[in-house]
Structures are given as structure tokens and as C-alpha cells.
Symmetry: C2
């Protein structure tokens, strides 16, 4: 039996203005009052938009926030890529992904550098509030969690896979190591400390993680 369902809206006539206003309002509210107190009614009011406009295009508060955050990340990545380009010359067309991990030939140094940058990012309130909210929602809502991972987390992790593979070719990482698992040795501890408040997050800590992971715990 074919659908006589709600009949999907016509996306060609969608208001870009409303879409942006909703993104901005959602992010702002999560930052200002926190995720649990952010409501659809609140987002609509702040965006100057009817509630129905939100319900027409999104299925839930979490959906709105995920898209808003995705959009924010793209903007930020574009801005960063732009600056990079201005300072160091062209690098092909607009990056669809944040720049890769530097490859100076010194794996430990490169990883420490990137992890220090991540530490800084985790402390930026504008990023922290929305990404915490999405992570929390993802823990308890598998469908959204998987989208969060696929669209935001995994692309970042892939950069580590690439760098580790390069290190393997350079003979700095054993060839039998699976890079996708190896990266978790230093990324996951940082993630857990951030998500669950299981310990302080410092440069010293992430540097130590890299050393432990590369050299191992056992005597050499």
C-alpha cells in the first residue's frame, strides 16, 4: 500500500533565513541555559519562528542541535582553512575536512601537538556546551549517537589513522598494528576524562599518553 502519509514538505521552497535563525538560537540557548532547559518553544521564540517550522524540518530537539553543530563545525573549518590558505598559499579547493595532522617525521611530537590543540578546543565554552549535549544524548539514544559519531567524530579519527599509517611506512610504528585501534590508546583516555570528569585535562597529561602509547608500559 503506497503512502498517504503526511506528504513531505517541498525543500525547494524552504526558508534559508529561518534555517539559519534556528541554528543560531539552538546553539545560543544550549550555551546560555544548558541543554535540558533548551526547549523547542524557546528555540522558536528566540529565532522568531513558528514552532511548526521546526517540527516541519526536524524530528527532535537533538536533531536540530546536531545539524546546528554540524553547520557550526563546517563554518569553523572553512574559516580555519581560509586563514591557513592566506598565510601559506593555496592548497586546492575549499577543504571539506579539517586539515590533516602535521607530518614532520617525528610521530610523538606531531601527536602531542594535535592533542594539545584538542585540549584547548575542549575548553572552549562555545564548543563545549553543544558537543557535551550531543554526546550525552548519543549515549542514551543509539540512533543519534551513531549519526554523531559518523558525521563528527569518525572523520576526525580518520586523520589519526592516516598519520599512523604514514608512521608505519616510516618504520616508526610496527607494521602489524591496526591504526584504528592504536589511535584509541591516546584519544579515548582524553575523551573519557572530558566526558566523565575522571581526571584533569592538561598538556602534560596528553603528552604522557602519547609516550605511554608509543613506548608501552612494559620494560623495553
Amino acid at each position: 500500500m503506497a503512502s498517504n502519509n503526511p506528504a513531505p514538505p517541498d525543500s525547494t521552497r524552504r526558508s534559508e533565513r529561518s534555517r539559519r535563525a534556528i541554528y543560531d538560537a539552538a546553539i545560543a540557548l544550549v550555551v546560555e541555559v544548558g541543554y535540558p532547559k533548551t526547549t523547542i518553544e524557546g528555540i522558536a521564540a528566540r529565532a522568531g519562528v513558528g514552532k511548526q517550522t521546526i517540527y516541519r524540518w526536524w524530528g527532535s530537539k537533538a536533531d536540530v542541535l546536531l545539524e546546528a553543530f554540524l553547520d557550526l563545525s563546517e563554518q569553523a573549518a572553512r574559516t580555519a582553512a581560509q586563514e591557513h590558505e592566506n598565510h601559506e598559499g593555496q592548497e586546492g579547493r575549499a577543504g571539506h575536512e579539517s586539515q590533516g595532522i602535521p607530518d614532520t617525521g617525528d610521530l610523538a611530537a606531531d601527536l602531542k601537538l594535535v592533542l594539545r590543540a584538542t585540549v584547548d578546543e575542549l575548553r572552549d565554552p562555545g564548543f563545549e556546551a553543544p558537543s557535551r549535549a550531543l554526546a550525552a544524548e548519543g549515549v542514551v539514544n543509539e540512533e543519534l549517537g551513531r549519526r554523531f559519531v559518523a558525521q563528527l567524530l569518525e572523520p576526525q579519527l580518520q586523520l589519526y589513522v592516516d598519520r599512523l599509517r604514514s608512521a608505519q611506512e616510516a618504520g616508526q610504528v610496527r607494521p602489524d598494528i591496526d591504526p584504528r585501534i592504536a589511535l584509541e590508546l591516546f584519544v579515548s583516555p582524553l575523551a573519557q576524562r572530558w566526558l566523565q570528569y575522571t581526571g584533569p585535562i592538561t598538556y602534560e597529561y596528553t603528552d604522557t599518553l602519547v609516550d605511554y602509547a608509543l613506548n608501552g608500559l612494559a620494560p623495553r
Copy 2:
């Protein structure tokens, strides 16, 4: 100015019967309908209790669930300790903490064994639903998150610290390693995969984590 605040309730007259009924109802509802759809009204109705009785002793839904889960864990630990005792003879009075990590002298084997047991536990629906709910709440609610860690997670992690220190004395782990950080190399990756669905959780995976962590990624 001294308090003319709500006047705290008299805990000596507290109904043990209600307390237990509330714990049971909270856990059951989280398992059956999920954390977001679990409501204070629902818990009260299911427990056969007035709403005020919940509001009198707890501050929020998350508070109730944390205490209920803590109680459940203690029960489970007591039961496990009991069985352990029956099968292998007395071991002092009732354990307030789950048994330590086995120490056969083979660190890798001991860690793999315990992590395999953790993998099994993470799959038990009766434990999974409530602990996911609490973890999610903790991500977005720092105060509760810290209590969750201090009362549930950290005691477990301490067992790894003890085992790693023993391994250091046996010369199987370098003496300059900080055990509290070292344990994160294999515990956090598992935690992240579970929390965020970033990858499959298998015995093979946890075994690999132990090998990578002990031997390091770099050629030896």
C-alpha cells in the same frame, strides 16, 4: 540568620519499604521504557508511593536512579562475594568492594581476563540501561557526573591501579609509569566504544588493547 528553611525530614522515621519500592520501580522503568520516558510520577505510581515521598528524599530523577543503581551494585557485589566465599572458603567479612583483579604473575593474561568479564557486563541489559542513563546524565550534569565517577567508576579503576603497582614490583611494568594513567590505555578505549558506539566490543578487541598498551606501538 539561622535557617527557617523547609526543615529537614526525620530520617529515623523513614520507611524502608518505600525506599526499596522506589529503587525497584526506578530501575525497572529505565530498563523497560528508557531513561527519558521515566518520570517521577511514573516511579511513584509503580512503587505505590506518593510523589511527595520521592521529593522528600531526593532532588531529582537522576538522584533517585544513582542511589538505586548504587544499591543494585552493592547487592550484586554482595551476591558475587557470597558465591565466591561458598566456592572457595572464607575471605574475611562481607566485601564492600568487588573482588580485586587476579594476580597470577602474568599481567597481560590477568588484564585480558578482567576486560573480557567487563565486556560481558556491558552487554547485560539489566546493567546497561541504568548505567547508560547515569553516564549520559553525568556528561551534561557535572555535579552528578562527579558523584557517579567517585562512587561507582573510581573504585573499579582503583583495582587496576593496585594490579599495575603489583606488576611494577614484579618488574613487568616500568617503575616510572603512573598506574592511574596507564590503566586508561585499555579501559578508556573500551569505555568510549561502549558509550559512543565508535566500534564493536569483542574479546578480540580488548585482548588487542592489552597487547598494544603493554608493548607499545613503536618497534621494540
